[in-house]
Amino acid sequence: MKQAHRVVGTPARRADGVAKVTGAARYAVDLSVPGMAYAAVVRSTRAHAKITGIDRTAAAASPGVIRVLIGDDLLAAGLTPYYGHVVLDHPVLAIERVRFHGEPVAVVVAETKREAAEAAELVDVSYEDLPAVIDADEALKPDAPVLHERRGERVGDEGMDEGEKGLVGNVCAIARVGWGNIDEALARAHLVVEGEYRYPMLYGYAMEPYNALAFFDQGDLVVFSTAQHVYMVRRDLARMFHLPLARVRVSAPYVGGGYGTKSYTKVEGMTAAAAFFTGRAVKLDLSVEEAMLTTRSASAHIRARSAFTKDGMLLARDFQIVMNNGAYTDNTPLVNSKTANRCFGPYRIPALRVIARSVFTNTVPSSSLRGFGAPQGNIAGELQMDEAAAKLGLDPVELRLRNLVGPGEEFMPGKRPLDADLKDDLRCLASALEWPGTRIGRSIGLGVSASDAGAYPTSTAAVRIHSDTSVTLFTGSTELGQGSRTVLAQIVAEELGVPLESVGVVNGDTGVVTYERTTGASRTTTITGRAVQEACRDARRRVRELAVQAFDLPTSEIEDTAGGIRARGRGFSYGEVIEKWFGAGGEVLGHGAVRRAEGFAKMPPFYEIGCTGLELSVDRETGQVHVTKLTTVGDVGFAINPALVHGQDAGAAMMGLGAALHEELIYEGGQLVNPNVVDYRVPRFSDIPDEMVHLLAERLDGSGPFGAKGAGEGAGNTVGSATASAIGRLLGIFPRELPATPERVWRLIREAERVRTRKTE
């Protein structure tokens, strides 16, 4: 039963609505300060090469140029010229060597943007080519060129991988998960499904390309940028300039799309270095082409085996995953371990063996992207459930129901037990899709996933109650469009019993707001939300303390009310208590902190559920796939703002559909051949499924406020496998490589025809 709430659980309008529809919302790209200079980046034209010389004379003499900066300048000035939140291996500007085509080699600072861009053309870099390796499997071979003979210093993170153990050659990260006796289980299986699966390299295409504005103010570094995790960037910059954390301010105003692609440092280091060496405020705006050379997601090549009994009960699963993580470490150890944790699914598996390896190659470095390893692993894990069902003559929904873990059941030893009812979610999904489907020429595919989400649960928040009883919330969570400002304000309004309109939110600025570890892994509502709740409770406690003194009341006689307290039969608003205590003006400050303890002691802080399916048809002449229906089940515990949850589910599912059908970064030789949104095709209006249905499952089983848990990634995680499964059920052969482009589907159709003719012969 849901409790009665006033503000949470309602589709309150977005706090940023008017600003965003009138063009008034300011993004980092819109900011300027007087006297600001502009930067342009000189990029490597080689995939792997030694830098033998950089001639900056012509560029330096070009009109308007203030300075041409190279990696050696950072070294000479005693700065730390590398960044990376796990391994310090990413040079701000290439030093001695370039490791991918498009790597920043120099930065030109000039009075105008055009002057900077023109001078950048004049920087003459000479190279001595080194053998390059683009494919991850190739990079694992003993004779492959090695990208990092000396590893960067490990500066930590959550220790979710095996650390530096076994990292030889080009192996950037290894993760292993497993239990039971695989060989024995395989030997007694009735059926073993075996296959190789491929998930593409993707570009998140957040529509605002990476940009930053940096300057030094009395020795303090100030950076406005597109950063998703402002506090993570602060740490990188503090290390780079040897500054205390307190003297680095990183602020992200509205951010034009994140989806994980703006996690961690991107252009902030280069821009800050330009400001450092010129003494000017410097603005660096990347183009989309350059953004595509900045970060992508890791592709995966998965060899998988799943063993079943005659009745479709899983006996064992065995995954060998190789991911292509590009030239530098970035977030790879985490993505890699998440892929390992997320590939096998929330099933009861007696014996499991997963080995995931991420491998350095001479390609654009990879980092986080919505789903974070889950879509990659899912294509193998979920598709094998469908392939097994087909072979065993079982219904794929029934097969999943037989194997899924129930609520409260542990499926990864030592980890949080499942905080969701996946069987019920799946039944809901199947019925909404009218499973198994009877329409001629159409086919349904569906899947489930449970992601260990939330990242490390460190979060703080502060609320200030003002003397008119209005409230300001301070949070380090950034507003990427997910609606955090709205949801967190709803939580404040509910907790303190004040109108939503009287809650202001200040966010995403390390110089102003409280610490927040990251804004990602679908954690804001759940983890930041809990910190916000604690801050509200702290503020209420302080108001009661003030009331005791101001009105000379015994503590026992004070009760909390909506927007104030009650004592001796009389109500006082927060403002009345504050003004009475101070005599004039004043405010109350509440602080809330969440750490890995109590409700969040067990990792992960919560599971993010994916439960999405779709119905599609295939044009047998062209191989074109048409999605007729897409359905998501948002198992979010409690939807604090149902409209925002739908938005997350729709957006994630649609992004998943892009990867399932169209999107793929393609390398030829050492070069990305489609670094633009003409050739890299993202979903458009014409790709909207004919029908979209977003369902909510609210069982108050989340670890967040009011029983909520995160959304934002889950709905997309199973779209790839569901698409492949639907196509497979229609054609009789399952695609094992995404995206299922018309060409690939057309080939499958021909192959299916050949198989049929062979059978009839």
């Binding site: 589709p11 309008r13 977005r14 940023d16 609505g17 008017v18 600003a19 965003k20 529809v21 009138t22 063009g23 008034a24 919302a25 300011r26 993004y27 790209v29 819109d30 998140g204 295409y205 957040a206 529509m207 605002e208 390309p209 509205y254 951010v255 034009g256 799309g257 994140g258 989806y259 183009s287 989309v288 990427l480 469009g481 997910q482 609606g483 409209a643 925002l644 739908h646 938005g647 729709a650 957006g651 599912a653 649609m654 992004m655 633009n676 949104v677 003409v678 993202v682 979903p683 458009r684 209006f685 014409s686 909207i688 979209m692």
Partner: protein
């Protein structure tokens, strides 16, 4: 490099400005402080930079500013009537038809051109017309709903 003076008519205001020949329309409007118009793909595929030029939607990232000489230009900042939002803007808020909001100015301006041309669009018309505007956040469905709502609202209005 040539420069010239043009007669600029943006969002109802008029002024003369001197611009360089190669100045793009997006550079010009943003230099006037009208930074609601956004740059993304820079190659006429995403629609984030859409403005109305002489009533027609154009990608300001690939339109030269001199083409705007003496022609009315409408940007996202020109849609509301003071504090009163345009029905499209109301509908976008009501339908949660944006998240990050980066595509939204171009999206709303394109939708305005659509409703000017087809006051009674059906779903297919909206999807077809808006195909030149990319949104990476919403999955589009709420935008279609918002545009249809606004159309109805505008027809109903006296």
């Amino acid at each position: 490099m040539g420069s010239r003076e043009i007669h600029l008519r943006v969002n109802g205001g008029e002024r003369r400005v001197v611009i360089e020949d190669q100045t793009l329309l997006i550079e010009l409007v943003r230099s006037l402080g009208l930074v609601g118009t956004k740059l993304s793909c820079d190659s006429q595929v995403c629609g984030a930079c859409t403005v109305l030029l002489d009533g027609r939607p154009v990608s300001s990232c690939t339109t030269l500013a001199i083409e705007a000489d003496d022609k009315p230009v409408v940007t996202i900042e020109g849609l509301a009537d003071g504090a009163k939002l345009h029905p499209l803007q109301e509908a976008f808020i009501e339908r949660f038809a944006f998240q990050c909001g980066y595509c939204t100015p171009g999206m709303i301006v394109s939708a305005k051109a659509l409703l000017d041309a087809y006051p009674e669009p059906d779903v297919a018309t909206v999807r077809h017309w808006m195909d030149g505007n990319i949104c990476r956040c919403t999955g589009y469905q709420t935008i279609v709903e918002a545009v249809l709502d606004a159309a109805e609202q505008m027809r109903g209005a006296p």
